[in-house]
Symmetry: C2
Subunit: 342 residues, 2 copies
């Protein structure tokens, strides 16, 4: 008999839940009406009720392996609490994992949402054929996840994989993290919009200015459309996205020599606009990239054996990865090392 697990994507706005079996088949997937803004207790009540309903419905699919929850914030792996999460105020120092375990009487694993997305792409997505990879999630911010030998690398306190805060411009744009010139300031949807506004203010981006005036919901998708129509100012913005991302991926190739680096999240839809400058930068900056020998059955987009590729699971990566968490719990990389040190 197979087992199945529940994956939860506790996003900044909505709550999504899926039941996935151990072969990777999604049995059920729902987006609840729960608005995360309505507060912690209501979210937990509704989440637990929805999970219980799905578990009962899917009980024919085998034994429940547990529940994995992807959360936008930093998790204290040992206590199962949130360290900080701007999108989930009121959750700090609350025993999230223990409370849900108590209510549902089953194992719960919390994970940073970008780590969960990396694990999802590694399990069923772009990186299914490799053991070692890292993923960049280009959304409102830039999240990262490092998977080594099939497991998320957590580091000493669960804060590893903060790839959005790698420095790309020594004295660049200030970042919420306290530094300047982080990748997040050049490759997130927020950064794309900011760079567009800067271009409009400079008076040298008339087409963007027109679109901005016509549509109050001005977003990075519109800037991408302009870029694909050939607008020079919009193209320049995505070239900057690609250069920043390429600089960081080149660093990662030099550090890890992994076979695969995956780019996902909403901004990854603009791949055609930023990939050329990204790949050119990686090629210039990383001699490891230029020198790595191809491996068997290398996928399309592979250059020299190191594959830089788009994510395949779209917005489901985090949900799928969350469901994977309880299936491989207890086998994580860093907590073992931590226990040894303790």
């Amino acid at each position: 008999m197979t087992t199945f697990a529940i994956g939860v994507d506790l996003g900044g706005t909505n709550l999504r839940i899926a039941a996935v079996d151990s072969t990777g088949k999604t049995l059920e997937k729902i987006t609840t009406s729960t608005e995360v803004a309505r507060g912690r207790d209501q979210v937990i009540d509704e989440m637990c009720a929805a999970i219980q309903k799905i578990v009962v419905k899917q009980s024919g699919a085998g034994e429940l392996a547990g529940i994995g929850i992807g959360v936008p914030g930093i998790i204290e792996m040992q206590t199962g609490m949130l360290h900080e999460s701007p999108n989930l105020p009121g959750w700090h120092n609350y025993p999230v994992r223990d409370e849900i375990e108590r209510r549902l009487q089953t194992a719960v694993v919390l994970e940073n949402d970008a780590n969960a997305a990396a694990l999802g792409e590694k399990w069923l997505g772009a990186a299914a054929r490799v053991d070692d990879m890292c993923m960049f999630t280009l959304g409102t911010g830039v999240g990262g996840g490092v998977v080594m030998q099939g497991k998320i690398w957590h580091g000493m306190t669960g804060m590893a994989g903060e790839l959005g805060h790698i420095n790309v411009e020594p004295e660049g744009h200030p970042c919420n993290c306290g530094s300047r010139g982080c990748l997040e300031q050049y490759a997130s949807a927020t950064a794309v919009k900011r760079m567009a506004q800067e271009a409009i203010l400079s008076g040298q981006a008339s087409q963007m200015a027109r679109v901005f005036k016509e549509d109050v919901e001005f977003n990075s998708k519109m800037i991408f459309d302009l870029a694909m129509q050939g607008d020079a100012s919009a193209r320049a913005i995505f070239e900057r996205v690609g250069k920043a991302l390429g600089t960081v991926i080149a660093d990662m190739v030099n550090i890890f020599n992994f076979p695969m680096y995956v780019v996902g999240g909403g901004v990854a839809s603009a791949w055609d606009a930023f990939a050329p400058s990204m790949l050119a930068t990686i090629g210039r900056n990383s001699f490891v990239y230029r020198n790595t020998a191809p491996y068997e059955n290398a996928p399309a987009g592979t250059a020299g054996g190191t594959s830089i590729t788009r994510a395949l699971l779209g917005s489901d990566a985090g949900l799928i990865g969350a469901a994977r968490l309880p299936m491989i719990a207890g086998k994580a990389n860093a907590p073992e090392a931590e226990l040894k040190r303790a």
Copy 2:
């Protein structure tokens, strides 16, 4: 009965050999008169003769576990050949490992010299109490080694850990690797000398100009001495070293969340001149550094649980690490993953 191993440091100029037992005790250590410049065959002849002499002499110390050789270059882990090594011309595509194994009839492990130094510091040096660390070796170039769960991380083709080629200045000084603005261009002994020459040429470093004129052997040690005497131009150079190194260490902390980052190599002697700007940069750039909780018995120099510290083994780190290689052979991280993929 204990075992012992032979460590070899095949440097750019000389050949050093040590016998080290499994408890970490150095039984014997020699610097041979072999000049590496005299060519591959003579080096291998003399190395093998010297090793055999030591093995016979130390045979009372137990069984020989094998021979580890640290080499300045990139090793193809599977074939035991050198991929490229500017300091060892003529060694490329020569079956170094197999040839020495054939002659000495014992297991030989080749390793990049910076990786061997990291392993040495992890075994008996600054990082003996942690499982996860990385080390920067600031010498003629900047080498790096990443140790995870006690083993060197090699990556897909053995090229991981090229920390000297992480980008710190998007359009900075050209690097031999083909990129621009690599760490190596700001934190190696070569870079310190270049920056001093730039300062002298600018006409704004009169004290350095005088020292340079007086001594044809003008080197980074002299610039360090000037910095410690308060010379502003010399201090500015080491501040730049510290800023570049701090930028990269901050990136590493955000990526790995390791408990320890070790700085070694000749330029690390100038610690007092570059550490203040290095630590200030790490503090500004890495929120993971600022937020990591202290762990038990954290050593001096620890800030927030993440320790940035000087290497302890000096120029012996690579030799000690090389001797460690055969003791832990077959337990390396990446080759296992590679076999799985093959």
